[in-house]
Structures are given as structure tokens and as C-alpha cells.
Amino acid sequence: MIAMLIRRLIQAVLVMLVVAFISFSLFQFVGDPINNMVGQEASQQDRAELRERLGLNDPIPIQFFRFVGNAVKGEFGISYRMARPVSEVIAERLPATLELALISGVLAISLGIGLGVYTALRRDGWLSHFIMSSSLIGVSLPTFLIGILLIYLFSVELQWLPSFGRGETVQITENWSTGLLTVSGWKSLILPAITLGLFQLTLLMRLVRAEMLEVLRTDYIKFARARGIKQRSIHFHHALKNTLLPVITIAGLQLGSIIAFAIITETVFQWPGVGLLFINAIRFVDIPFMSAYLLLIALVFVVINLIVDLLYFAVDPRLRATKRSAGR
């Protein structure tokens, strides 16, 4: 158990180093950072001085290690566009993105599993057919279109929900403001959360349904039926656990991509999160911000993968046994 944890941690660090290298190379290859920082009137000498001061004349490996060292401390330099420390800007905007991702993740996972199980158990019911056909919409429509359609229906026509922004927020700590404590915050959250989570929801639902049908056909379920075990226990005790094993992996990755690819939803709803900030950063070639964002998303994925591995370990006894004997 501990050996495997250490192994996974080392892998995670390696992945982070590779991503760090890529985001470090952004500085080297996407234009000259000096050009981006100084005005057009700066003299050649000013440029050379700045270059020296920023350490851009040092050998590449040394620059890289300096970059990694700073990144570990959470320092990514000053944003070109906003002239403020990147870490500060991200810390300010991250809560909005995390809240959005969390709510759509919960929505996607709970409804995805629930509806998946329902459609698997009531395979021939009209409601199942209806759910399955409408899930095709979720799979096939692009996110921005869903967002725009929702805005049109609920904000423009029905005027039930706001079409943009976070609504009122409450400051919890210096950097953390939440919209989850106000009515208008929740109202503003509904549409973006649905937009962001719909694809993951339908994907998970279809996966759960397929897995569940597969599990219900296995010999151990047949044997459980032949022993007279109650239907409810067969479905939710014997079958569901086995169904969820492969679902955990996908759900983890989906949660990662919800955070990473909130960009489109945030743009459509003008949601003041890091995704929206990232889009603007690209437009301005704000390299410190871009590289920080890249590292942040990589960190999210690595952490989620680590958690998924641990969950797997906790749920599947076979894995525990093989690891135990392999560790000996």
C-alpha cells in the first residue's frame, strides 16, 4: 500500500516536471518576453539590462530550475496584461471556477449514475427510452450551443434565471468569495452548471448503463438470483459495486476535464473564473498566466488521478491482493 503510494507520487512528480518544462518553454518560444514587457521606446541598452536582471542570459537548465523553484513556491511572475502577480489573480478567480466545476461534477455524477442504473434496470420502459434518446442530445450538441439555447429559453424568454455573471457573492476569506450562500448566486449557477455538466452526465449515464447491463449478465448475478437473494440487494449490493469500478476512472477524468475545459462555458456565461481569464490571456499572449494555468490544470489532473487510484484500491479487493503479493 505505502510502496504503491510512493510509486504513484513519484510518477505524479515526473508528470508535473514534464508539464513544467512545457510551460517553461512557452517563455522561450512564444515570442520574446522582453518585447512583451517593455514599451516600443525602450532602448537596446534597457532591453539588455532587463534581460540580465530577469536572468534570461543564464543557461537554460538553470533558468528551468529557477522556474520550477518559483512554481513550487507559487510564484509565476507578473501577468503582462494585468501587471499583478499571476498567483494572486488566479487565487482570486479560482473559487468561481471550482464552485462551478464542483456543482456540475456533483450533478453529472449523481444524475449520471442514477439515470444509468435506472435505464439499465428498466431497459424496456418508455421513460428509459426517452432518457436514452434525449441523452443523445447531450452527447452530440456542442457546449456553447447548449449554453446559448439555455440562455435563450430561461433568461430571454422565461426570464427565470440570469444569463451571465455570478450573482451576489459573499467574501469568506480574503481570497475566497462564494456564490453558494446567496439566492442570486445559486440562480446564476444553475445554467452554467447544467451546460458544463450535461456532456459528462450523458457520458457517465451511458457508461453506467452499459456496465450495469454487462454485470447483470454475469454468472455471479445469476447465481445470486438462484439463491433467492432479494432483487433490491442483487441490484444495489451485488451489481452496482461491480458496475462502479470502471466508472470511477472515467468519472475522475471527467471531473478533471470539467475544471480544465470550463473555458467555453465561462465564456458563454461571462463567468468570472480562471477559464475566462485564460481566454483573455491567450488574446494578449500573457505568457506567465498561460504557463501558470497549464501547470494548475496539470496539477488538478494528477491529483484526481492519484485519488482515483486510491479509490480503486479501496474498492477492489483483487487489486489489494495482487499488490500485496507483488510487494513481497
Binding site: T218, Y220, K222, A224, R225, A226, R227, I229, P317, A321
Partner: protein
């Protein structure tokens, strides 16, 4: 003779197809008496396993019982509503499947699966159920049962897992176990042990067994009587010794002739020419008539019912009029 434990009468199982329907079991009738081991032999697709599934009410849709009756003592069980049938499963009729490696839920402990099954059928609290589970495991020959009960299925070998499966099948103290090829997936050396466990347990608990297999060795070893199936029909039923020594139905004769023997030297094993008909192409009259070497005219016209002879029952026109 005592009352039969299980009576199957003219059982017909059909699978609807797009336009036609396939008759997978056609008027199957037989009895199993209390404590008796009845063997079911036949080629793949003859309907042996299907008979077992029909009895315990677990036919895979769209397969269904089209006509006929199944009686468990005085109770007709082929039309019971789902929940009543469920209560009966495991409690009065249990089933063992072919592959012990896949019959146990991989992520639940043996204790979990056994105790749940016991508590489904017997009014025991957790502690009593656990004690009974350990006792069952001990009876089927799991060493250190009280320790191993908390293991997961993958921590057992194939033979041990089949023992666990037998313990699970016996958990509700059923009167009848349907064992669907319980040894086919096991090593030959383990097969004998499992048959032995099954025989011993059924003797101790007075449980009747319907042993589905295509292994005549297993039949000869374990069974009291044997039913030979062909193309969804019963060809012959009788005492094992009689059928092995003096098979009556031409199909059974061919089946016995094709078993290699180490005591007699035979240059070539006899084989039955042709193969079993597909379900949508069963000939009129006797299903075996195209392959039969002793065919008479009547065989292609009328279907023979089971005829009682002095050795048992056989569905073959050759024995018509042979009064016992």
C-alpha cells in the same frame, strides 16, 4: 413408491423468433424423488441446462415456458409470481453453475455472500448466521473455515471455490439442487473431489440432485438414475446401471458406444453419423430418425412418447407393445 419431490410434466420451452418460434424443450417429463441423484446427459444444445433453468424459473427472456407443468411436491411452481418464486429459490431449490471462477461475486467476501444467503432463508441473527456459514464451509471441506470465511473469492483455488459454491447452494437447506455441469471447468483430479463432496453433502442433508453433465463417467459415478436428452426431448430414462450396460434407445446405444474403454480393445470408437438437428430443423416424427440405424417407417411420421419398459422409460417405437 413415495411421492416425487419434483414432477415435470410435458414441459415445453419456446423462444420466439421474428416470425416463427423455436421449441427448445418439447414435452419433457420426468420425476425426481427425495434424496435421489438424477443425471441429465446429452450433447450441447440438447436442452439439459435449459431444463434446469426452467425448473428454477430463471429462463433468460425471451425464452419462456409455453406449456406443461412443474410440481414441487404439492405445489405447482411454473406459474408462481416473481417474489414467491424468489423465496423458493435457494430455500427449496438451489442451483450450482458450471464455472466456479465466475459464480462468486469478486468484490464481496465469502462471509458476506454466505451470510446474506442464509439470512434470506433462515431466521438467524448475524452471529448465528456466521456460525452456520463457518459450519457449512467446514462441511464442504474448506480448511480453517473460520479464518478463510473473510477472504475474497480470488483468494481461493478453482476447486475450493466450487466447494464454496456448494456451501452457498446448501445454505438455505434446499430439497433439490440443480447442478449444471458442476465439474466441467475443473481439473480431472479436482472433479472427483467435488463430485464426492456433492454426493456426501446431499446424503447428509437428504437433498435430491439433478446433475446436468455430458460426462458419462460422472453420471456412472454419482447418479442413481439418468435421463438422456436429445434435441429438446427425453430419449430415455432409467437406472444408471441399466442404461450403461443395456441402453435401449438407439441414440443412447450410440452414445455409450462412443465412450472409450480401457478394458476392451477397440480399433475404432463407434460414432453416430451426422449431428443433432438445429432447433428450427427438427424432423417430424422422432427427432433422431435421420441418424438412426434402426429406423422403421413410423419413426418419420409419429413422434414417440415415453414408453414404459421393464428397464425404465424410452421414447422409441421399437419398444411399442413391450409390456413390462
Amino acid at each position: 413408491m413415495t411421492q416425487a419431490l419434483l414432477s415435470v410434466r410435458d414441459l415445453v420451452v419456446e423462444f420466439p423468433k421474428r416470425k416463427t418460434r423455436l421449441t427448445a424443450l418439447d414435452k419433457v417429463s420426468f420425476d425426481i424423488h427425495p434424496g435421489e441423484i438424477l443425471g441429465m446427459v446429452g450433447e450441447s444444445g440438447a436442452g439439459k441446462s435449459l431444463t434446469g433453468a426452467a425448473i428454477i424459473g430463471l429462463l433468460e427472456p425471451p425464452g419462456h415456458i409455453a406449456s406443461g407443468e412443474i410440481w414441487l411436491k404439492d405445489q405447482r411452481i411454473d406459474q408462481l409470481p416473481y417474489d414467491q418464486m424468489r423465496r423458493l429459490r435457494g430455500k427449496r431449490i438451489a442451483m450450482i453453475f458450471q464455472d466456479p471462477l465466475t459464480s462468486l461475486n469478486p468484490i464481496l467476501t465469502i462471509a458476506n455472500q454466505l451470510i446474506e444467503t442464509i439470512q434470506t432463508h433462515l431466521p438467524l441473527n448475524d452471529k448465528e448466521a456466521r456460525a452456520r456459514a463457518i459450519q457449512l464451509l467446514d462441511e464442504v471441506g474448506i480448511p480453517a473455515a473460520s479464518k478463510r470465511i473473510d477472504d475474497y473469492p480470488h483468494q481461493f483455488s478453482g476447486g475450493m471455490r466450487q466447494r464454496v459454491v456448494i456451501a452457498l447452494a446448501l445454505a438455505g437447506e434446499p430439497e433439490l439442487i440443480i447442478a449444471d455441469e458442476p465439474t466441467t471447468a475443473l481439473d480431472v483430479s479436482v472433479q472427483a473431489q467435488i463430485i464426492d463432496v456433492l454426493k456426501r453433502m446431499c446424503h447428509v442433508h437428504k437433498t435430491a440432485v439433478m446433475l446436468v453433465t455430458h460426462d458419462m463417467g460422472v453420471i456412472a459415478e454419482a447418479c442413481d438414475r439418468v435421463a438422456v436428452m436429445y434435441a429438446g426431448r427425453i430419449a430415455e430414462i432409467g437406472e444408471v446401471r441399466q442404461i450403461v450396460k443395456q441402453p435401449q434407445h438407439p441414440y443412447t446405444q450410440g452414445l455409450m458406444g462412443s465412450i472409450p474403454s480401457i478394458t476392451e480393445r477397440v480399433e475404432r470408437l463407434t460414432q453416430i453419423p451426422g449431428s443433432m438437428p438445429r432447433l428450427d430443423a427438427i424432423p417430424t416424427g422422432c427427432a433422431f430418425n435421420p441418424r438412426c440405424t434402426q429406423k422403421i417407417d413410423r419413426c418419420t411420421e409419429d413422434r414417440p412418447d415415453l414408453i414404459a419398459t421393464d428397464q425404465g422409460q424410452v421414447s422409441c417405437w421399437l419398444y411399442e407393445g413391450d409390456k413390462p
